[in-house]
Amino acid sequence: MTRASSGAGAIARSLAQRVSTAIGARWKRSLLRHGQTAIVPRENVAGRAMVLVIAIMTFLSCLTLGAVTLVRDTASTWQTQIAREATIQIKPAEGLDMGGALATARRIAASYHGVRDASIVSDTATARLLEPWLGPGLDINELPVPRLIIVTIDPADKPDFAAMRAELRQAVPNAILDDHRTWVDRLVAMSRTTVTIGMGVLALMLSATALTVIFATRGAMAGNGHVIEVLHFVGAEAIFIARQFRRHFLLAGARGAVAGGLVAVIVFVIVSWWSSRNIATPEGDQAAALFGTFSIGLSGYLGVALIVLLIAVLTAATSHVTVMAYLRRIEP
């Protein structure tokens, strides 16, 4: 047992030593390589302008993506919230027992599959609803005020509204069931239009970004023609030259894209923090009613990361294509 464990220990030590030697050699090679000046020169004015342009375009693209995500999520939330409720309105009439009618209508609604809850809006709540128009201290029993029953619906498994409407009409003739279909349809149409427009704007923004990145990269590459020529004439293979430039421009593009994406994320976080801080104020409530919590969520942040990655890759790919085209031009 002891011998076996000592043998295993020796093997492990030998393995560790080999790995350590290999890592050491690799590290040494890496240090040596890093000790040399990069073959592609550091950024000149055009290179710095390219990084700046990439940062700005990434920032704008991320903002557009965030805005589209926000609109899509908000429209979806509105739609879900409205579709989650239906209202039964009972109009007052001569000789109508409002309490009995409310109870009957509530019982009928609650009996349907897909209805989670049906609650009568109390006298006090109804009075509060009417307070802005009729003033405080209102006794609703003195006025012929319609009464409401809020029916909470399972959005995934909606009740049969047609059957419920027919049964209510028979049992309580003054009852009107409003399943908010008109509003839901309008909202669905509006949200789809908004998201489609947003997607169109995002596509245009990304196209503009791609073109700007391509032209900025080509501009930065133009100053490196002599480097490509010298490398070519000292016997460098095309793939080697392309790799040097690709790596350089991938890093430069990533630097600009990460900076732009980071600023966009900071903007999202600040606006989200501001909206959560002002949630109880009138302006905060107004903003929250329109845009929800101003949070772009995980999908939004993933989208920002994807844009950053795409722009960095696009920069590298542009430099690669430019180098190959240049080499084709100088080599018949």
């Binding site: 090679r29 010298v230 490398l231």
Partner: protein, 263 residues
Amino acid sequence: MNDASHPVLPTTYLHDALTINYEWWDTAPFPPAVPVPRQCRSVHVIRFENVGLRYGMGPEVLRDVSFHLPDKSFQFLSGPSGTGKTTLLRLLFMSLRPTRGLITIFGKDRSRITREELPHLRRRIGVVFQDFRLLDHLTTYENVALPLRVRGKEESSYRADVVELLRWVGLGDRMHVLPPVLSGGEKQRAAIARALVEQPRILLADEPTGNVDPQLARRLLHLMIELNRMGTAVLIATHDIGLMDQVDARRMVLSGGRLEIYD
């Protein structure tokens, strides 16, 4: 060719060269060109047969050019400015294709050389450009070592050889300096060192003395002759008749797109 069979710069290559005394070169007479050894006369590094070249639809810049460059030979390429010396050098260096005729480089038909083969063949041809073409962001040492670096060699494997070579061309104390700080002569020597670092079989120099004073031109010419004595075929393109008169060597004269050879 692997690294073991093709050392960067064997010690023997530099042994004699390291004793060079540049000041002595200022007054020393030029040695006669080394006659091409009999066994090398039939070994052609490069061969042109009825080569013609025109740019686009323009007139022919070179017409029916036929010659060969034997191994270990030394020659001048001359002619008035604008007669096509640089064009001929570009053909020799395979950065242009002829519009007609046959070019054979290291025994290979130029028209059959693929893009992938070109870098490997170019490494056997050293070129010194008239405008040096040094990279300003790299030090003299890094510029000279560039041909080895682009081959993916580890710096530790060639460092000593490059330092030796830099000392040989008189840039031992300027190796960590950037090209903009170097004088015209130092740049020219750095360009020559870069062309030699892979120990090419042939060295092509385009007006190597064009931008330097007569004293430095003399030193550079001595350097080229020394190289040739060590076994490298040398072709110097120049329109400086005075320079050519100093050395008894083969002359190739371009005139009106045609080539005359005076052995």
